[in-house]
């Protein structure tokens, strides 16, 4: 039972990271109908940038801010410089270009930083507090929950309460009508990419120190988990992405805990196959799909 509790909290903590990363995928999917396969690589690039700043200044938080701001800039740049010029008449084109970006980013990172695992710093201890004799949560876990929670709340407020959020939603749903109403649709798309990439960077900052460390391909497996989470929740649903992320986190934690860590990647693959074949629209998109059809 103690072990189960520990694994549950550990899974929720991991799941929060997947939730954030899945949320980033959903943001871009909703804005541009592209699954950003380069998101993992983009996040790693910004974490490297943060790492350099932390090393140079000795301040974790300065590096943290640089990574997040770097995400904003990189996301905007990818949309403005590359994605805007892709012929989106075939969904394959966007996917292939994103994969090209993966190669570029991983290659450039390797050239600058080398292909060894670098130790990534953390701001908080990962030693768990004991609650009633059971080690449950570390300061780091609380930091993860707090930052992912903050992102979810801020994004919700942005999209439901602010004019910019309204513009972004309108631009995604009905670009031509939005332009007639004075919405700068291209700018909203850039903003969507920027926000998504920044959220991806946050996920990278949170997860990389808990895994092997910093490496150009560090987010490959995380991407698969987050993609599974996003598909599980339905690519169109931000709430679905968060719940999907927590579910995938729990699953991975239980599988690693009871069956061994090497089985975990297989478990994600199996879950993805089951979801794709069983419910490809995800668990949370029913109302919306119906709405679209009407």
């Amino acid at each position: 039972m103690d072990r189960f509790l520990f694994l549950t909290f550990d899974g929720l903590s991991r799941g929060a990271v997947y939730a954030a990363f899945a949320l980033a995928l959903v943001l871009i999917w909703r804005a541009a109908r592209i699954v950003n396969f380069a998101q993992g690589a983009m996040a790693v690039a910004t974490v490297y940038a943060g790492y350099s700043v932390t090393n140079a200044t000795g301040s974790y938080w300065l590096g943290f801010v640089v990574a997040i701001v770097g995400g904003l800039v990189l996301g905007a740049a990818v949309e403005r410089v590359v994605m805007r010029f892709v012929d989106h008449s075939s969904p394959l084109n966007g996917v292939v270009v994103a994969l090209g970006l993966v190669l570029i980013i991983q290659g450039v990172l390797g050239m600058i930083y080398g292909n060894e695992f670098l130790p990534a710093p953390t701001a908080f201890s990962r030693d768990a507090f004991e609650v009633g004799g059971v080690a449950l949560l570390s300061r780091y876990d609380i930091f993860v929950f707090a930052s992912v929670g903050a992102v979810v709340v801020l994004l919700t407020l942005l999209f439901t309460r602010t004019p910019t959020g309204l513009r972004m939603r309108a631009a995604a749903f009905a670009p031509d009508v939005s332009r007639l109403l004075g919405v700068p649709v291209g700018g909203m798309l850039t903003l969507g990419w920027a926000l998504a990439a920044a959220v991806g960077s946050l996920a990278g900052l949170l997860v990389i120190p808990t895994e092997l460390g910093l490496h150009p391909t560090a987010m490959d497996v995380v991407f698969i988990s987050a993609f599974t989470a996003a598909v599980l929740g339905g690519l169109d649903s931000p709430i679905g992405a968060v719940i999907g992320g927590l579910v995938v986190g729990l699953l991975l934690s239980y599988v690693s805990g009871y069956l061994g860590a090497t089985v975990a990647p297989m478990a994600v693959l199996i879950l993805l196959v089951v979801v794709l074949l069983g419910r490809p629209d995800g668990l949370f998109t029913r109302a919306r799909t119906k709405a679209r059809a009407a």
Partner: protein, 236 residues
Amino acid sequence: MTTSEPLLDVAGLNAGYGAAPVLRDVSLSVQAGQIVAVLGANGAGKTTLLRTLSGLLPATSGSITFDGIDLRHVKVERMVRHGIAHVPEGRGVVTELTVEENLRLGGLWRGKPKLDDVYELFPPLAQRKSHLGHQLSGGERQMLAIGRALVAQPRLLLLDEPSLGLAPKVTAQIMALLRDLRDRTGLAVLLVEQNVRSALSVADVGIVLALGRIATKDTASELAGNDDLRHAYLGF
């Protein structure tokens, strides 16, 4: 007809899709406080005319002047700032947003949008503020689209087929509303319609498009009274 400087002045306008020109040498003008009906058969270029005026479709040649500004160099998303509102065919309600959000969207460019006037104008909308666009009836959607255009407080309203799919009674209400707005606020309207009778009932001037050219241009009462024209171009 008044002879003052027109609000909208179009001269020698050509536009089209790909290699096929749709509009050929179209010239027209709209005065402030005037309702101009654009009539014609399917495919005559009515919708293309509105899309070209609001910049959704670039003109290949000709000039579009609005209150002294060359509109051909104004981006679509800036049109609303110049006082031009375009209600596209099929109404253009963003069905994934609520009634309130659709209306707010219309006035976003000017900061604090005033929605109360629209709710007063269209009481059914006031009762469905939080409904999503796709939950509305056809008439309600049309009200929402027009209401949203009015939130922007335009000087020229480009209205594409407002009667499409609506009951005659609702159509008549909308036409009456246009006339009322024109009288109260001096709004100019370029009204594209298939429903010739109701369009001419409200318009000051009628323009008949045929195969992308202006076939004839006259006061609405003349057009409605001229049997030959009606038979030749308008089919009633």
